[in-house]
């Protein structure tokens, strides 16, 4: 975003309060579809992952995938939703080629989860956005438009389970909206229920945006922004919409309630359909699925299965572990990173040092932190802890430690093996260091004279020479002391 537009948004923000509610669709990473047996995985040949049920063939009936229910319940519990003891599915009707049955099986008046809160941070500041509900539904297929008015439909996605997470209009800026979505992605990835990939569409976001004069209690007319397939898109699209609405209101015009499609390439949105053109979905209870009853024992078991959640981890890292908010934020962002960090600490490394090594050495070498687990890191947490221990004990200098880490990474060897095999252990024995120091001083009479004449910065030169003499194994602190003594002796 350019400086000019930032100023424009700030101008609008001074006068208007931005009100945003978010609807996020998360594809649940179940093995099979929500009502049938074909694979729910992304990326198959068009229409390869289909069956008579997800194609909506006459005579077929939906059977609810319990794995999807489990995922929705765990998500609800993770955000503190009320899990309804009895929920129901409903049919939502509209005609579109990618919708095989002419209706989508969704939930309407009895969603599986009600209420809840998403907690996250924006530049260290805590935010809490309340949820209206989380409901389950099936995804639609995809229309593929070929050239010259020819279209195809790919039903691989039809019937993939979704959770729709609907927030209250509690979000107050485009940045907050993007961070909310990011926090949700972190959460679903922690729970292992969705891969959170916005580019592939496994997480999708719609935003309801309106403005009102500061101090006004009534909401303004909202528009619904669609097609924002990255965090950056979420932020850009909402910022654009805030400016657009502010300009309208400033000119005394009215905002029209409509859906708008974000065009990231052109950096603008286009109107899709107005309220008048909106569908009448004719919801009614899905007669092919009995109401879903969830016992207290079921919910309790799901609760017990929850991992430590990102916000709890953040509190632990910034509290007892003593990490900076920045470091804690980086580590918490992906469960695999945080798990790796925790394992490093558990293997004996001090939290702050472990955090430095993980962030500066490990993460610097990982292309995509989201694929940490798949990559199976060449340096296991225990090995990293061992290396940190060698540096802490003075066996390796910080610089040597980094070199050793690089070799561990590239050669998949343990630090101890490398040190032993290469004789890299730091020399701390003062006798052998003194011998090297004397040799170096004797070999450089000119530099010695200049040093003694007051050119003290030459100490560094001598230390360097000693390190060279010892192949870098001398303890720099020890060498420093001995050299200083030798050099200052004759002054």
């Amino acid at each position: 975003m350019s400086v000019a537009t930032t100023e424009k948004v700030s101008g609008a923000l001074a006068k208007y309060e931005v009100v945003i509610g978010l609807e996020v669709h998360a594809q649940l990473s179940t093995k099979s579809k929500i009502f049938s047996w074909s694979s729910a995985a992304f990326g198959a040949e068009p229409n390869a992952s289909t069956d008579p049920i997800c194609l909506g063939m006459p005579g077929t009936l939906p059977v609810l995938n319990q794995e999807a229910v489990q995922a929705a319940v765990r998500l609800g519990l993770a955000v503190g939703s009320h899990i309804r003891p009895r929920c129901r599915f409903a049919r939502k009707h509209y005609f579109y080629p990618d919708l095989p049955k002419g209706f989508q099986i969704s939930q309407f008046d009895e969603p599986i989860c009600e209420g809840g809160t998403i907690r996250f941070r924006v530049r260290g500041e805590a935010r809490a956005v309340r949820l209206v509900r989380i409901h389950m539904e099936e995804d639609a297929g995809k229309n593929v438009h070929a050239t010259a008015g020819v279209s195809f439909v790919d039903y691989n996605r039809a019937g993939v389970p979704l959770c729709e997470i609907v927030s209250e209009p509690d979000v107050r800026s485009a940045e907050d909206a993007a961070e909310y979505v990011r926090a949700l992605r972190t959460l679903v990835r922690y729970l292992g229920i969705c891969d959170g990939n916005m580019e592939e569409g496994s997480m999708r976001c719609d935003a309801n945006v309106s403005l009102r004069l500061r101090g006004e209690t009534k909401y303004g007319t909202k528009t619904e922004m669609k097609n924002m397939n990255s965090f950056k898109n979420v932020r850009d699209a909402i910022e654009h919409e805030v400016r657009r609405q502010a300009a309208l209101l400033d000119r005394g015009e009215r905002v029209i309630q409509e859906s708008r499609l974000w065009d990231a390439a052109r950096g603008l949105s286009v109107a899709m359909r107005s309220k008048e053109q909106a569908h009448d979905y004719r919801y009614f209870p899905e007669p092919d699925l009995p109401p879903l009853a969830l016992s207290e024992a079921y919910v309790a078991a799901a609760k017990a299965s929850l991992p430590e959640l990102p916000e709890d981890r953040y509190e632990r890292y910034t509290g007892p572990s003593g990490l900076t908010p920045q470091d804690a934020g980086v580590l918490v962002a992906e469960r695999d990173i945080a798990d790796y960090f925790d394992a490093t600490v558990k293997a004996g490394a001090a939290p702050k040092k472990a955090a430095n090594w993980v962030i500066n050495e490990v993460l610097a070498r990982v292309d995509d932190a989201r694929r940490l687990a798949e990559a199976s890191l060449p340096v296991p947490a225990a090995a990293l802890a061992e290396l940190i221990g060698l540096v802490d004990a003075g066996t390796l200098s910080g610089k040597l430690g980094k070199d050793v880490f690089l070799r561990m990474w590239n050669e998949r060897r343990r630090a101890g093996d490398i040190v032993a095999a290469e004789g890299l252990a730091q020399v701390s024995d003062s006798g052998s260091i003194e011998e090297a120091c004397r040799k170096v001083v004797a070999a450089h009479p000119g530099e010695l004279e200049r040093y003694r004449a007051g050119e003290k910065k030459l100490l560094g030169f001598f230390v360097g020479a000693v390190m060279k003499e010892t192949d870098g194994k001398a303890n720099p602190k020890g060498a420093n002391e001995i050299l200083r003594r030798l050099l200052d002796q004759g002054a």
């Binding site: 609810l64 005609f95 095989p100 009448d280 919801y283």
Partner: protein, 511 residues
């Protein structure tokens, strides 16, 4: 061997003979196929005859029997299916233009279970389009005629299933009953038809009309035949989430037990089912049937089912709403009929659906769309659900006082083609005796209890409590063992009907 007569042959007699190797399954199949060829054309009951695969199947059964293998309880019994049952590799159309050419890649659960029991499938039977009708006049594939009188309707919507069994064009058949579509045609054709408890028979692979009201069920010549078919097709199905986990009863044993009498049983007779508008011949026959049950040892309990008067209205709100939803998938995109040369997506939809659906599905789609409109849900569908609950409560209260309920199946005998098509409401009233059992989901059976002076069959309806199929069979078995109506056979019509009796624009009817 060699002298098998398909006319009037019962399922029990065929399977016993085939299993005992007294007759070959192939011979039985040939005998029925011959009748289909000779007697079938006058009736219009079959949409598709799968003769080649039927012969192959019959031979397989004979070979398995010769090899001493287990072939199933209904080995060699030739059956046919209402064209609403999805059949793998065999065109399934619901008698609608919009499904022409649809060859499903899967098999319905009921037909799959029948095949596993050793039956031989002869083909697909005519019906009212998407099971919407009470006279089979709503088929896009032509009329079905009543074997007892070619000028009369066979009832609907399972008209083909009832006529085919009555005329011995198959030994038994399957139909579906959404508001009376098994019982009413069974009544009009003088055979036995049963709608079991909702969820007793899986709906997987049964094309949906109104999901919460659709009940697949069997037709047969006798109570025992229907019991035998139900024993095979009933039972929970993991592919139908609304199918019930209750164990399947011994329905043939229950029917047999009825022959020993009904001592101690209380038969409820609801006043609301004997009101104005009933044909006096029907009332007389049904009252005589009730007397027969008293003779068998039952006591009569006069009853009231006070919400019966709301049943038709409730039924048409629920079934149209669900139908409009279930029929939304026929859009020309994926299978079946697609209007040629569409100029746009909108054009594709409106022309495909406009040209593909007949008048009655269109009427119900429009009604159902109206019923579910935003802002009208509570007034129509919501109210209907409440009324439906009241109707079910009526039955619950009644079954606290009696073991089974007996009523007429239809207030009138078979009517003539075109007689009720001009006024859809008149046609909808044909279901007045049957829809309540669909709303409440209770099991109900129709069996023949006499004939009008004109020679048209009259049906007696026996209803039981939820999952009380055995009670229904016991009562029906008792009645059948004391009467001879089921032994009567309609005449064979080997000549084509006179031209001019066909009614092109069939309009009305329930399901």
């Amino acid at each position: 061997m060699g002298s098998f007569d398909a006319r009037g042959a019962s399922i029990g007699s065929i399977s016993d003979a085939v299993r005992a190797r007294k007759i070959k399954a192939r011979e039985v199949t040939e005998a029925f196929l011959e009748r289909v060829e000779k007697v079938g054309p006058a009736l219009g009951a079959y949409l598709l005859v799968t003769a080649a695969s039927a012969r192959k199947r019959a031979d397989e059964i004979d070979q398995a029997l010769a090899a001493g293998q287990e072939v199933g309880p209904l080995a060699g019994v030739p059956l046919a299916l209402k064209d609403i049952f999805v059949t793998k590799g065999i065109e399934t159309t619901c008698a609608s233009k919009i499904l022409r050419g649809f060859v499903p890649p899967f098999e319905s659960t009921p037909s799959e279970r029948l095949a596993a029991a050793g039956t031989v499938m002869l083909g697909k039977l005519n019906m009212d389009e998407f099971a919407m009708g009470s006279s089979n006049e709503n088929s896009s594939r032509g009329l079905v005629r009543n074997p007892w009188s070619l000028a009369h309707v066979p009832g609907g919507s399972s008209g083909g299933s009832a006529a085919a069994v009555a005329a011995s064009l198959c030994a038994g058949s399957l139909g579906t009953d959404t508001g009376g579509s098994i019982r009413q045609p069974a009544s009009l054709c003088g055979i036995v038809g049963m709608k079991p408890t909702y969820g007793r028979v899986s709906r997987y692979g049964v094309v949906a009309f109104a999901s919460s009201l659709d009940h697949p069920g069997p037709f047969g010549r006798t109570v025992d035949d229907v019991a035998a078919l139900l024993e095979v097709i009933a039972g929970q199905d993991p592919r139908d989430a609304t199918s019930v986990p209750a164990p399947v009863g011994r329905y043939r044993d229950a029917a047999r037990a009825g022959r020993e009498g009904l001592a101690g049983l209380r038969i409820g007779v609801p006043a609301e089912y004997f009101g104005a508008g009933m044909d006096p011949e029907i009332e007389a026959a049904v009252r005589a049937g009730i007397d027969e049950l008293v003779q068998a040892g039952a006591t009569i309990v006069p009853l009231s089912l006070p919400h019966t008067k709301y049943a038709i209205a409730t039924y048409y709100l629920v079934c149209t709403a669900e139908a409009a939803s279930n029929l939304a998938r026929y859009d020309g995109v994926k299978y079946g009929y697609r209007a040629p040369d569409a100029r746009s997506l909108e054009d594709l939809y409106t022309r495909t659906r406009g040209e593909g659906f007949g008048l009655e599905p269109k009427r119900r789609i429009m009604l159902g769309t109206y019923v579910l409109r935003s802002g009208y849900y509570d007034a129509y569908y919501g109210q209907a659900l409440k009324a439906r609950r009241k109707v079910a409560d009526d039955f619950a209260a009644a079954f606290a006082k009696c073991d089974a309920i007996v009523t007429p199946t239809s207030p009138i005998p078979a009517f003539k083609f075109g007689e009720k098509t001009a006024d859809p409401l008149q046609m909808y009233l044909a279901d007045v005796m049957t829809v309540a059992a669909n709303l409440a989901g209770v099991p109900a059976l129709s069996q023949c209890c006499g004939f009008t002076k004109a020679g048209l069959p009259i049906g007696l309806q026996v209803m039981g409590p939820p999952l009380g199929e055995e009670m229904v069979f016991r009562v029906a078995g008792a009645y059948e063992s004391r009467t001879k109506w089921h032994d009567r056979l309609p005449p064979d019509h080997t000549t084509a009907p006179l031209p001019g009796t066909a009614v092109a624009q069939a309009l009305g009817g329930a399901a």
